[in-house]
């Protein structure tokens, strides 16, 4: 599993200890540019941003992580009780927050919950969303317990979408993230594969993949409930 991004650098010792105890892999990062430069090939697994010492730097980091081509999630923000007021109108910058000081049990519980909510389940080799289950170790996908017969690219596309439920992706993003350079057809290839995937998901589940007019595609329910 790729590491969690921890801000600031160095990581507060009590956080580092709690993460090590919980078996999480992590790496501390001091500024937004380093977050991009040192991003692992598979992307950051998530981020924990601690805001008590450098609140401005922490918010700048959140903004940068959320604004990229592929907004980072889940993002857990750790604040002091005095900073709770500052969270107002910044709800888009984090997925959950936790009040300092850290309690290791609470931190682990929140992380597990966040990973479950963002479709990554509690096992790193399983992607789950509603009736869909994808095993990234065996490359097998099933819906309602029935195996899906997918081509490689259909599988990769479904895996990517289901790993980021509720997110809207443009064709270009999907192309660069899922296909890389090895394909014929350009961005239109994405539409072709979405059509095939919906057909294979079957009528009942085809609606898992939504077309977002003049933008792209979204898997699962929108995060804003629309």
């Amino acid at each position: 599993m790729d590491p969690l991004l921890i801000f600031p650098e160095p990581a507060p010792p009590e956080l580092a200890q709690a993460l090590d105890l919980g078996g999480w892999s992590w790496k501390s990062i001091g500024d937004p540019d380093a977050a991009i430069a040192e991003e692992p090939d598979g992307g950051w697994t998530g981020a924990i941003v601690v805001a008590d010492v450098d609140p401005e730097g922490a918010l700048a980091m959140c903004r940068r992580l959320r604004r990229g081509e592929l907004p980072l999630e889940p993002l857990l923000l750790l604040v002091t009780a005095n900073q709770l007021e500052d969270l107002k109108l910044r709800e888009d910058l984090y997925d959950d927050f936790c009040v300092l000081p850290i309690r290791p049990v609470e931190l682990s519980a929140r992380l597990r919950h966040l990973f479950w909510k963002t479709g990554r389940g509690t096992r790193p080799d399983l992607v789950e969303y509603g009736p869909l289950a994808l095993n990234v170790e065996t490359y097998q996908a099933a819906i309602d317990g029935q195996p899906l017969d997918l081509t490689y690219m259909e599988y990769e596309l479904l895996k990517f979408l289901a790993s980021h439920p509720g997110r809207v992706f443009t064709r270009e993003t999907l192309l660069s993230r899922v296909w890389g350079y090895d394909y014929y057809g350009g961005a239109r290839t994405v539409d072709v594969h979405i059509r095939r995937l919906r057909s294979k998901l079957g009528e009942e589940h085809a609606g898992l993949i939504h077309t977002v007019r003049s933008v792209g595609y979204r898997f699962g329910q929108s995060r804003w409930g629309v």
Binding site: Y139, Q140, D182, A187, R188, R195, K200
Partner: protein
Amino acid sequence: MENDDRKRDYVLRTVEERGVRLIRLWFTDVLGRHKSVAISPAELETVFDEGLQFDGSSIDGFSRIQESDVLAVPDPGTFELLPWAAEDEPSGTMFCDITQLDGSPFPGDPRQVLRRNLTRARDAGFEMFCAPEVEFFYFAEANRGIPQPLDGASYFDLTTADVSSDLRKRTLHMLEALSIPVEYSFHEDSPSQHEIDLQYTDALSMADAVMTLRLTVKKIALEQGVHATFMPKPLNGVQGSGMHTHLSLFRDGQNAFHGPDGDEGLSDVGKGFIAGLLRHAREITAVTNQLVNSYKRINEGYEAPRFVSWARNNRSALVRVPIIKPGKTQSTRVEYRVLDPACNPYLAYAVILAAGLRGIEAGYELPAEAEANLHELGPDELSTIGVEPLPSNLAEALDEMEASELVRETLGDHIFEWFLRNKRAEWNEYQRQVTPFELEHYLPTW
């Protein structure tokens, strides 16, 4: 190549996880016939690494003078589980590229011909998309003699107890399971004739899809003792089967055929492509219509195009530019209407692409649109408006092809020369036949 390793890994894992017992490796001979060789899962990894060696001289168009062994190298991106395989014997399939023993592309492999031409188009910034409308007939039996249609229904007829509509439904289900989305399917206007329209995709995937479609249609029909045929003109006196194909080029994710409003909705690229198709139409017809029988379909008295022309809404034209809905600029496309479903789709799409690209690159001027119904004009009127006929038989088409530097360059010397030799022989053999027509007309009188 890292991506290729992952694809192979995906296939190997899926074969293992799903208990696949047999993997069918598919490829295509020069005439467009589907070839298949089965391997066991135990051989799969080696075949990925080394290819499957076989004697090419047993395949039409693959033989060479010296070394005849070639390699079939499966394309892991095309791996599918076969939806009709028995539950206790899951089978998978992959399309193969054919290479020489040293790994270089084999010049007799039609799939590599299309690949090479698509790469050329990509170097010029273009991706080609195709959407064919494939017509075919269901007959009660495959024997020689007079084919027996399954029903007497016509265009869009709803016949409740229609065996063929059940067949078609099951076929569509299978195609969807094979990653081949169907746009429409319906009963065509001749007895027992059907049409399946595929949703657009890139040209290589589409050529693969046409091969899979022909196999699927025939296989599902055969399960019910029915013979499905893609022969272009199986019945006297009714329409034959075509494979009109909608074509478009995309550049940077945008439709390159679309032009500013008021300028006929076509860009210079679009106009050049059509002009190229028209200028080289006669040269590529032997490839898009490769049978003696193909020319019975494009004869007088039916809807198939007979003249080199283009039009916006005139179905007698060779190239039609369908009118698109307002705002649907990405749908701008041209429809090439002479193709028939007995062609080799790899070679046909390769020559069509090459003709269109030549028009763009050389800046050919688009001639005037054909507004009249060309089927109703006499030869004098046609020559006045500068409209040429398409070749009227295979021999004439082969003459045009033989003189074409464009077709030679597109197909490569190996296929170009073999195709001409093979097709000349087919024509000569046909010429020696005494036909039912002759017996009927001459025997009683002379």
